[in-house]
């Protein structure tokens, strides 16, 4: 079967098609039109496609008749520093994006788990945000518009390239955190920032209780921070918890806020890191999310975080845990069982806290789904949306659990 799929793909793909390691054909399209041609055909034939970025976040193990690899779409199409917007193809890595933006003194304040070899598409599809979400918001806040190819090969544009826009329904939102079920993101218009004049990073270490307390004090003092991230001992290697505090802005502003951090702190001391050390620490936090087969995120408010961290500690251990103690949200990386995830979801649902499966081997994803049980009335809407964007379910995704 895959030989004939390989042959047909070669005839329609208008781009390189190779036979992948497991004999599954791999298409590496270099335009939205090429993806559309392939998916349109796949939809008619009833084939199933796995979409891969750089393969550096989600395991590339979902069964499929062929693979679409977005690596051929890796360009930063444009950067407009005067407008603080950029257009980027989905296969571009964060590293490439950072470099292109830096040349224009711009910056994309997204620091997702996994690090900068990830493709933009994978960050959008999984809505994985890092510590900077404290100041700069969730992934969706950075996206002004998208070009998407649907499962049946239609090219749909949503949003625009201006920072404020309410024309038409906001279809972009469906793609972000949609885990690939609603189309293949080909290109995105991003809202970027000017590189801040100053940055600082300070860390304190201590017991969990001490650091939770420090974070509460900083929050109550309304100190203007870029991030306020708690990391478990296992995450950074060591036997103490770490609280990482970043500030960005004007030099006097940053200095004043860091001074305030130190004066508000009680019983903990915050040590400043130089730029090199700071970026190594940030990289370590991002990389640690790959040190285990499963990554989960809990949508919990800052106020509910201490309780939730306790629950995780008692049930599956703290493992590699990080928490934004300002914006809320806890990430946990380890090797839980499917039963653990189900039980935790059940428990958290009572507190209105969703537990999203961000990364796991296919069998695990399929068994528990990215979201677990939906809230009242959501399941039929999600199913109809899926059929709208991918009528033949060509795109392999585990947005719903098998049970």
């Amino acid at each position: 079967m895959s030989v004939s799929i390989l042959e047909s793909l070669r005839s329609i793909a208008k781009s390189a098609v190779i036979s992948g390691p497991d004999g599954v054909p791999v298409v590496r399209p270099d335009s939205a039109e090429a993806i559309a041609a392939v998916l349109g055909h796949a939809s008619e034939q009833g084939w199933r496609a796995r979409v891969e970025g750089r393969g550096s976040w989600m395991p590339t193990d979902a069964p499929a008749d062929f693979v679409i690899r977005t690596g051929g779409l890796d360009r930063v199409v444009s950067v407009a520093p005067a407008d603080l917007v950029a257009t980027v193809q989905a296969g571009a890595t964060l590293e490439t994006i950072d470099q292109s933006l830096a040349a224009h003194r711009c910056w994309l304040p997204i620091d997702p788990p996994g690090g900068d070899s990830r493709s933009l598409g994978s960050v959008l599809a999984t809505a994985t945000a890092g510590p900077l979400r404290h100041r700069f918001g969730p992934v969706k806040d950075h996206v002004l518009g998208t070009t998407v190819v649907t499962g049946d090969g239609r090219i749909v544009k949503a949003g625009g390239i201006v920072v404020k826009n309410v024309a038409g329904y906001d279809l972009t939102k469906i793609q972000i955190g949609g885990f690939g079920a609603f189309g293949v993101v080909v290109e995105a218009n991003l809202r970027v920032r000017a590189v801040p004049a100053a940055r600082a990073l300070v860390v304190a270490t201590g017991t969990l209780d001490l650091l939770l307390d420090q974070a509460r004090l900083l929050r109550e003092a309304a100190i203007d921070l870029a991030s306020l991230e708690l990391c478990s001992p296992t995450l950074l290697g060591g036997d103490r918890w770490t609280l990482i505090v970043q500030a960005t802005g004007t030099a006097p502003g940053v200095a004043a806020e860091i001074d305030r951090v130190r004066s508000v702190a009680s019983g903990a001391s915050f040590e400043g890191l130089g730029p090199g050390q700071a970026s190594r620490l940030n990289r370590a936090v991002a990389q640690a999310a790959l040190d285990g087969p499963v990554s989960l995120r809990a949508g919990v408010l800052a106020a509910g975080t201490p309780d939730l961290v306790d629950t995780l500690g008692e049930t599956i251990g703290h493992r590699r845990l990080s928490a934004s103690l300002g914006a809320g949200g806890v990430r946990w990386v380890g090797n839980p069982t499917e039963a653990h995830v189900r039980a935790l979801r059940h428990r958290f649902a009572e507190r209105e806290v969703p537990l999203t499966l961000e990364r796991a081997p296919w069998a695990f994803r399929r068994a528990v789904g990215h979201f677990g049980a939906f809230r009242e009335g959501v399941r039929p809407i999600a199913a109809r949306l899926r059929s709208t964007f991918d009528p033949k379910h060509v795109l392999v995704s585990a947005i719903e659990a098998t049970e």
């Binding site: 201006v162 404020k164 309410v166 038409g168 004007t250 004043a256 949508g299």
Partner: protein, 477 residues
């Protein structure tokens, strides 16, 4: 005045609606329906067939179930301040104002969340949050009248959305009734979507996906320090270039608003006079907020940039009263312009910020070509223009010129890479502009997504998407 809608609902329907909400909350006489014939947009009007005013979630659900059974279209309405004709109901549609559902259900200062009914007036929520040191950040200029349900439907913005984001950045969860009367709980208090981001999709859907019944929003701390500056310029170009330089310097002011000479004149001649220099070609209102040291540092930098772009004077509000006065002129500018002529078209378009200098010149040229006075008052920091035109709609030749000038302005904004609306929505007014920015496949997809929520197209019919763009219309089965 719109032609009288002589469609009479069948008495059985009226009685059934009355049984749900109480007969006095069903309006069926023409004189009672007339007040609902328009929203804030002067160019469109249509009288609804009936008006029903529910006061509880149970009543809304029962009303929608009844209308579903009888296959009757309907339109939700907030305060009717919309500027795109979004809350207009014509033909046999029933209008459902939600203004009686105006309870703030909870404010939780620790979690920084509020849960409200859709009819809560925007400013009331911030007033209620203020004692806790919190605010609801999106602040449309209509905030003393418009409802948060209407804000959700339009994804409303406001002056302070430059820094704080628009409605979509502040709504974390929604309980919605779909057109078939079923309930859906979207999102979570934290904001993590719990599935595909249906809250993000619902916000800005202009009342076509269902009715937002219970809205959970983020509250943010009131800033410790606020600095408000007013700069005046001899040319519009200097003012717009100053805007660009502030943005490019990486400063994100809480607000960055501009008013041109025609607008200043209208404000200063009204009871809202704010002390703007009437000989200025434009003024910029720049507000910085946050922690004291950063605000001071940014204010110094902004001051320098304004001077470097030839600001004639830069004034800083010294007291809260000063600040309120500077803002009053901006927030009441539409009202002030409204007094100049019987009618006012408030336009809404967006351009990339770097295009502001040239687009304002183009708008000036278009105004002269059609012999119209265009007053510009707008959210300069995010490139969101409001070119407003005062006129008298009884003069049909004049009204025609206004329509043609508006369309030309819109074309110029789109050509600059912009959008046809930044905050007022498409509604009925801009439906014909949609193909200017979306191709037919993308428009057809919007139709399809609408049908996910409303297969019978009964919720707010004939808005936002031109019907000929929908697949079922193009490809009759």
């Amino acid at each position: 005045m719109a032609p009288a809608n002589t469609d009479r609902p069948d008495p059985g329907l009226l009685a059934a609606l009355g049984a749900i909400v109480g007969p006095k909350w069903v309006r069926s006489h023409l004189t009672e329906r007339r007040p609902f014939e328009a929203d804030g947009l002067p160019t469109h009007a249509s009288v609804p067939m009936a008006v029903v005013l529910p006061s509880s979630r149970e009543q809304v659900i029962a009303v929608l179930k009844l209308l579903a059974e009888r296959n009757v279209p309907w339109v939700a309405r907030g305060a009717g301040t919309g500027l795109s004709g979004g809350a207009l109901a014509g033909g046999n549609a029933v209008l459902i104002p939600l203004t009686r559902m105006n309870r703030i259900l909870s404010i939780d200062p620790v979690r920084q969340r509020a849960v409200i009914e859709p009819g809560v007036v925007n400013a009331r929520l911030s007033d209620a949050a203020a004692p806790f040191g919190l605010q609801y950040a999106p602040d449309p200029s209509s905030q003393t009248a418009c409802t948060i349900g209407g804000n959700v439907a339009e994804n409303a913005g406001g002056p302070h959305c430059l820094k704080y984001g628009t409605t979509t950045n502040h709504v974390v969860a929604l309980e919605a009734v779909l057109p078939d009367g079923s309930l859906a709980r979207l999102g979570s208090p934290h904001g993590e979507p719990w599935g595909p981001d249906l809250v993000g999709l619902f916000v800005g859907s202009e009342g076509m996906f269902g009715i937002a019944l219970e809205i959970t929003v983020r509250l943010v701390p009131l800033p410790t320090t606020i600095r408000t500056l007013l700069a005046d310029f001899a040319t519009v170009r200097d003012a717009t270039e100053a805007v660009g330089s502030i943005v490019a310097a990486g400063i994100v002011p809480a607000a960055l608003e501009m008013m041109d000479q025609a607008c200043i004149a209208a404000v200063e001649a009204s009871i809202y006079a704010a002390g703007y220099p009437t000989d200025a070609a434009a003024v910029l209102l720049v507000e910085l907020d946050g922690a004291t040291a950063s605000v001071e540092a940014e204010a110094a930098l902004v001051h320098e940039l304004l001077r470097a772009h030839r600001a004639r004077g830069v004034r800083s509000a010294e007291t809260a009263t000063d600040r309120a006065r500077l803002w009053q002129g901006r927030k009441k500018a539409f009202g002030a312009m409204g007094r100049v002529a019987p009618d006012l078209v408030v336009q809404d378009a967006v351009v990339p910020r770097s295009s502001l200098p040239s687009i304002l010149e183009t708008i000036g040229t278009i105004g002269r070509k059609y012999r119209l006075t265009v007053c510009n008052v707008f959210h300069a920091g995010d490139g969101n223009l409001h070119p407003n035109i005062c006129y008298d709609r009884r003069d049909s030749a004049l009204a025609d010129r206004v329509a043609r000038a508006s369309a030309e302005i819109m074309e110029a904004c789109v050509a600059a890479g912009g959008s046809i609306t930044g905050e007022h929505g498409v509604g009925a007014d801009k439906i014909d502009y949609m193909p200017m920015i979306f191709d037919s496949t993308s428009l057809a997809m919007m139709c399809d997504v609408r049908r996910v929520f409303d297969p019978a197209n009964r919720a707010n019919p004939n808005k936002v998407i031109p019907i000929h763009a929908c697949r079922e219309w193009r490809e009759p089965q």
